[in-house]
Symmetry: C2
Subunit: 371 residues, 2 copies
Amino acid sequence: MSNMPFHFDLLHSDRDARRGCLHTPHGTVETPAFMPVGTQGTIKGVDIGRVAETGAQMVLANTYHLHLRPGDEVVAQLGDLHGFMNWSKPILTDSGGFQVFSLADRSKVDEQGVKFRSHIDGSLVDLTPERSMAIQENLGADLIMAFDHVIALPNTPEAVADATWRSVRWAERCQKAHSRSDQLLLGIVQGGLDHALRRECADAMVAMDFGAYAVGGLSVGEPPEEMYAAIEATTPHLPNERLRYLMGVGKPEDLLEAVRRGIDLFDCVMPTRNGRNALVFTDDGPRRLKNAQYTLQSEPLEADCPCPACQHSRGYLRHLFQAKEMLGPVLASIHNLTYYQRLLAEAREAIEADAFEEFHARKQAGWDQGR
Amino acid sequence: MSNMPFHFDLLHSDRDARRGCLHTPHGTVETPAFMPVGTQGTIKGVDIGRVAETGAQMVLANTYHLHLRPGDEVVAQLGDLHGFMNWSKPILTDSGGFQVFSLADRSKVDEQGVKFRSHIDGSLVDLTPERSMAIQENLGADLIMAFDHVIALPNTPEAVADATWRSVRWAERCQKAHSRSDQLLLGIVQGGLDHALRRECADAMVAMDFGAYAVGGLSVGEPPEEMYAAIEATTPHLPNERLRYLMGVGKPEDLLEAVRRGIDLFDCVMPTRNGRNALVFTDDGPRRLKNAQYTLQSEPLEADCPCPACQHSRGYLRHLFQAKEMLGPVLASIHNLTYYQRLLAEAREAIEADAFEEFHARKQAGWDQGR
């Protein structure tokens, strides 16, 4: 092990699936790993002690949201994100690029950066690669992301290429602007669904020698097979000894498909967002808790799940949603977060045992059966 | 100790303040005690493990709500309220009378009972003393309440007397109808703010020999002094060796004023309802977390509070409310529930030490100072 503040140990490979270990100043993350999303500095509805109990090793927070409210200087004064959230383990912040694209009113992109109006109060905000770095340094996460130009898909080849190469130029500016040695800056490989462009972008990013790499711009509505193909067109061009993070993905089956293609790290709002909407993940596929069939079911969602939701009957959980009780979304979110953590823990074991393909097939069969 | 399923041990008195111990088939409650309110079978927003961590020994659930949704037979099939809520300690259910009064559409009272339309779907429901007993037997709480006729205050003396004596007659019907020996039925003393009527009602209830007694019909908008006077007009006429429960009360200062007048048990929605609205209780009086003064405060709500909210800064809690994050209501509710439990635990210690008056004066001085 190196004495650098960050180090990724690739412990074992099973074909392209990787079992690793990321060392950070706030502790270690066993990979493949899943990060719960704490958009505004909170995993929605779940207190941070319960988040830790799900098995989460690292969480994600959003630069755009926290910059606008309460402000990154406020977060810095309240002990940076670790103190603010009371989470002493690793944290990752995104760059703000995606939320500017998806949430801001009237955003305007030029080579300098993005000007947009806040979705909260309409105030004018200016985000540049340098500004994103300064904000992320204030927020104080362990892993931070280069500021990128996110565009809608499908789009013209020219627009995709233009945004991709602008993201590369911005990534260089991020590297120059970033000054904290206790933060690891990740470069993001863009390129839409164009495999040649993905490879060119990966080569350009690798030439800049980032400490870890992300695959961005996916899971924006394209069919799963095209997403898997785009991952497959990217990961072989990333250095084997560096962490690979697939941004914003996805369903349980997407995670295993991506692990199979060499991805180490994930984040997604799906466990919490779906939980709030009464959809829970299980090894027999997703269940819609509002369905009448659950009214009198006294068994838990999953017999072997240790989460607080699975201390209750399905009938009770359904009742909470029918009665519009806050505890329904809370418990379903905790179950889903626990499900994701258990899935990744099992995947890690399977890779160690050179049995990932069998594990994957078994899980997929269970999910398919429940459809 | 008796080998009856229920027994109240009066351990110590400090003037009229009482330190006791209620034994039930689901365990023991140290009194004076406060019950969190789980209206629909959930303490709003707080998972049952966290409820236990606040120090709560017994919780309350509402007959009216659970009868309408999911239905008391459903609760019975899912393991009665103990299994349904996953709470193995004592539970109390109210009779439904108060919610019929406050929530139902177009309720019509006659000597037989109350006919009303459900606030959920407008369906016609018929509630009688016998029906309330049957529902509460299905729900399976340890302590259950006689079905009473609740009216608005102020009201004419005739209307108050009429409702009071009807409640006495209904209490007799409840005694006859109630069949489960593992449930303790409480008689409720009504009488509005009429001290003579309170005493007459108490005498009538005591003549019926209930295992424990409640003081009902208070905290419905009258000034605190009138409420305290009505308690004082009631408790001396209740047997010393039986538990006394003041229904639906109240603020921290109300609790201590009532303990001082011989009350042993409380319930109130205030800790959770106020918590959802960003109002938190402290020894320096209530704090409104949305106030701008908390933006940069890095200290917890209370330095010596062990609750999960007090693992965070005031600035973080304020941010959660500003950002309309569910975790704000959740954490503020947990803090308030913890505050109430700690207050009652301190009151129990003070009574044991014959120092309740000094304790009361000290707490009141802190609350007054924060105003």
